[in-house]
Amino acid sequence: MSGDIGWKVGGRQGEGIDSTGDIYAVALHRMGYYVFTYRHFMSLIKGGHTNYKVRSSDQVLRHHGDLVHVLVAFDQTTITHNWHELADGAVVIYDTAAFKAKAPDDRNINLCGVPLTELAKNAGSSIMKNMVAIGASICIHELELESLRPVVEDKFGKKGPTVVEQNMEALHQGYVYFNEHFSARFPLPPIKKSTHSLPSARLYASGNQAVGFGALAGGCRFLSAYPITPATEIMYWALAQFPRYGGVVVQAEDEIAAMNMAIGANFAGVRAMTSTSGPGFSLMMEALGLAGMSETPVVVVDVQRSGPSTGLPTKTEQSDLNEALHGTHGEIQRIVLTPRTVEECFLLTAEAFNLAERYQLPVIVLSDLYMGMSSQTIDEFPLDKIHHERGKLLQEVDLEKFGSYTYQRYNADVLDGISPRALPGQKNGRYVALGNEHSGVGLEIEDLATRRAQVGKRQRKLLNFQHFTGIHLDGDVHSPLALIGFGSTWGVMEEARIALNTNGLQVKHIHFSRVAPFPTEEFKEAMKGVQTALVVEQNSTGQLADLIQKEVGFHDRLERCLRFDGDPFTLQEIITRSEQVFPLGVHH
């Protein structure tokens, strides 16, 4: 068994599954392993199956992994529900006091009953049975119990040293019991000193946290949002951090207000954003158009979930692409970024503010539940790439040359379509930001020539858009076979590409981290020589494939690999589908 272990804890919602998973994941992360988590939960508060997957390795991970080697089951449902994921020889730890585990079939799985409750009582209280199970898991991984102490202290320290010791004891009880009764082991390799990033420098973060941090680092000082799964954690992060750095978070009465507030704050000159998920995003469509028409910068983060409508509110999907590209009546210019990783959630959210101000338009960042809520080890946040470029922002001295009411906020003559902004408070900068078609100074107009000029002005803004977002290319650039994706699927697709490579199938992996403006030239370049491409998307219609068809064509060369049941892709299904679609033995 190599250094790549899948562990999962499952039980009924509201029973502490999340915190169990958190402690385990953070512990391994702190020990220096790369961890990648995935939370399965339901849209109700108590009851219903929930589970928390943690994959660990001494190598960088990009996906939560298909297999489970160790399953901590607090009920029979957990066993039945996750049985198909169990690796050959996997261990199931269950509480003998709670139920008698039944194997659904006769596969080679070790059902290891541990008296979790009893051992927890031995340590001080039955509520620590989860710690007992973690202790047993640590035994299975052949790791040191003591290395969990910092995590236990962090978690329970404020309850006093006794509680800390009791929890350490619970871990110990589980460890010892398992060690005495069972021989199955899935060891994690010892951490080498010479891995490319210092383990102690690594970070444990989710996409949602990274978006929050990216916003703050990018200069955002105003977040208006309305709670919605799976985006609310962005609000939480901002609530905890923004006020320390002069920022404000407003819980709006609804998403319409949230979006209009973000526009208002940006108009006033503060970098501001709103974060939401599908239903809220749909409610923002009218205001999105206002941002476009009034040329007000604004950043909107949509952490996608399974749609349509209320859909599956606790499941992942990439199905808001069409709305991000085409939502709102009439025609506006917009930028749509689709970060591939947690690091990119940070960087592209920060960058979104530069783009929004530079081009004076709405920038949409499309994340999703899978990326947003999967905490994972990353080597670092690309802090050195953070910069603040505020675009054409006037100073009072610039405005002095205008008399009152002569400054043209919407001067249509500018070659690049981007006319300098004044901010309220500045003398001689008076203008009206508005959703009506307008003259240079921001008055409503209805004459044909001005209308044409203003439409033309806005359209010019993105004509020669050049930016580091766009396309990310991995693998064999000469291969006639390509995997194509956008956003959060990069990790699983990249692992699939590497696996295919190992199986002798060289493919290239073309991944979009920006879909609007569409990186036409880059994409065409990337597609050179490609005969068959598999477009991998977490939705049921193939929205990216459609977009490619619209923008450049390739109708006959695109195959689709779609998943839309709410669970994220497994590595295996992409490999299988690739092997079906790609002509075997294409080597060159």
Binding site: R30, S200, R202, L203, Y204, A205, Q209, F213, L216, A217, G219, R221, F222, S224, Q241, P243, R244, Y245, G246, G247, V248, V250, A252, E253, I256, A257, N260, M261, A262, I263, G264, A265, F267, A268, G269, V270, R271, A272, A287, L290, F381, L383, H388, S404, Y405, L423, P424, G425, K427, G429, R430, Y431, V432, A433, L434, G435, N436, G442, L443, E444
Partner: protein, 287 residues
């Protein structure tokens, strides 16, 4: 010192005689009287004839969406606390499609002055029933007379503990100016509902009608605008046909006064860049 001229822009496009002229004048005069300069005043308006206020008033403006002036205005104020911020719109805009924001703005109590040009009709869309149209009013969308109970802005505002509630009339600019001044001076959200006749589409709620019916509470000595329940009674008794400062809560803290960590300087002046130490502090939360 600024003058009225500083707060003027191009000639308003309202119909001759429209009540909104009076509202514009009163806003301009109040700003002059308060010693404000145009660049420090922002008017955020909705869509409607009344929504053209942001264009006609000579400060910075946002001519936002139908019903959405309040969220926008609150954010402008929070973003730059040195600005004086008005939200302005119509009865359809504010009490129809915008009703939710209105109630929540009163809860939040951000220091914005909300001016509603209440003409009991949809003006810009040429004469449909509005949420304040009287029962029985025949309009293009209520050919047999409106049957919905009209919105009662003052009562709603007081029920929701709005900190400053006033009502004026375009036909009494002098009073209106004073109401505006007091509203702007009030710390926190303030409502100024103005009977602003639509001379083109509303032949019921005319200047004459208001001249005949309005009671000026500012002139009623016994009236105490700090007694919420008594004010509610008085307003109800007068069938809402009153003007003046109707209710004022001098103690209610504004949003800014309560907001955790809200900086003294405008958010617009906060440094975008984080220091090394700040980064380190944040990064440590990810370890």
């Amino acid at each position: 010192m600024s003058t009225i001229a500083d707060f003027k822009t191009e000639k308003p496009t309202w119909c001759p005689g429209c009540g909104d002229f009076g509202v514009l004048n009163a806003m301009q005069k109040a700003c002059v009287n308060l010693g404000l300069t145009p660049e420090k005043v922002v008017v955020v308006s909705g869509i409607g004839c009344s929504g053209k206020m942001s264009q006609h008033f000579g400060g910075y403006g946002v001519h936002s969406l139908h019903g959405r002036s309040l969220p926008t205005a609150q954010a402008v104020k929070l973003a730059n606390r040195e600005l004086t911020v008005f939200a302005a719109g119509g009865d359809g805009d504010g009490y129809g499609i915008g009703m939710g924001h209105f109630i929540h703005a009163m809860r939040r109590n951000v220091d914005v002055t909300y001016v509603v040009m209440d003409n009991h009709i949809y003006g810009l869309t040429t004469g449909q029933a509005s949420p304040t149209s009287d029962v029985g009013h025949e309009t293009k969308t209520s050919p047999h007379g409106t049957i919905e109970q009209p919105i009662v802005p003052l009562q709603l505002a007081m029920a929701q503990h709005c900190g400053f509630v006033a009502q004026g009339f375009s036909g009494n600019i002098k009073q209106l100016v004073s109401l505006m001044e007091r509203a702007v001076t009030h710390k926190g959200f303030s409502l100024v509902n103005v009977f602003s006749p639509c001379v083109t589409f509303n032949k019921v709620n005319t200047y004459e009608f208001y001249r005949d019916h309005l009671v000026n509470l500012d002139e009623e000595e016994s009236y105490n605008p700090q007694d919420r329940l008594a004010a509610l009674d008085r307003v109800a008794a007068a069938n809402n046909l009153v003007t003046g400062v109707i209710y004022e809560d001098l103690d209610r803290p504004s949003f800014a006064e309560q907001l955790y960590g809200y900086p003294e300087q405008p958010l617009t002046q906060v440094n975008l860049a984080l220091s090394e130490e700040s980064y380190e502090e944040i990064l440590s939360s990810f370890r």
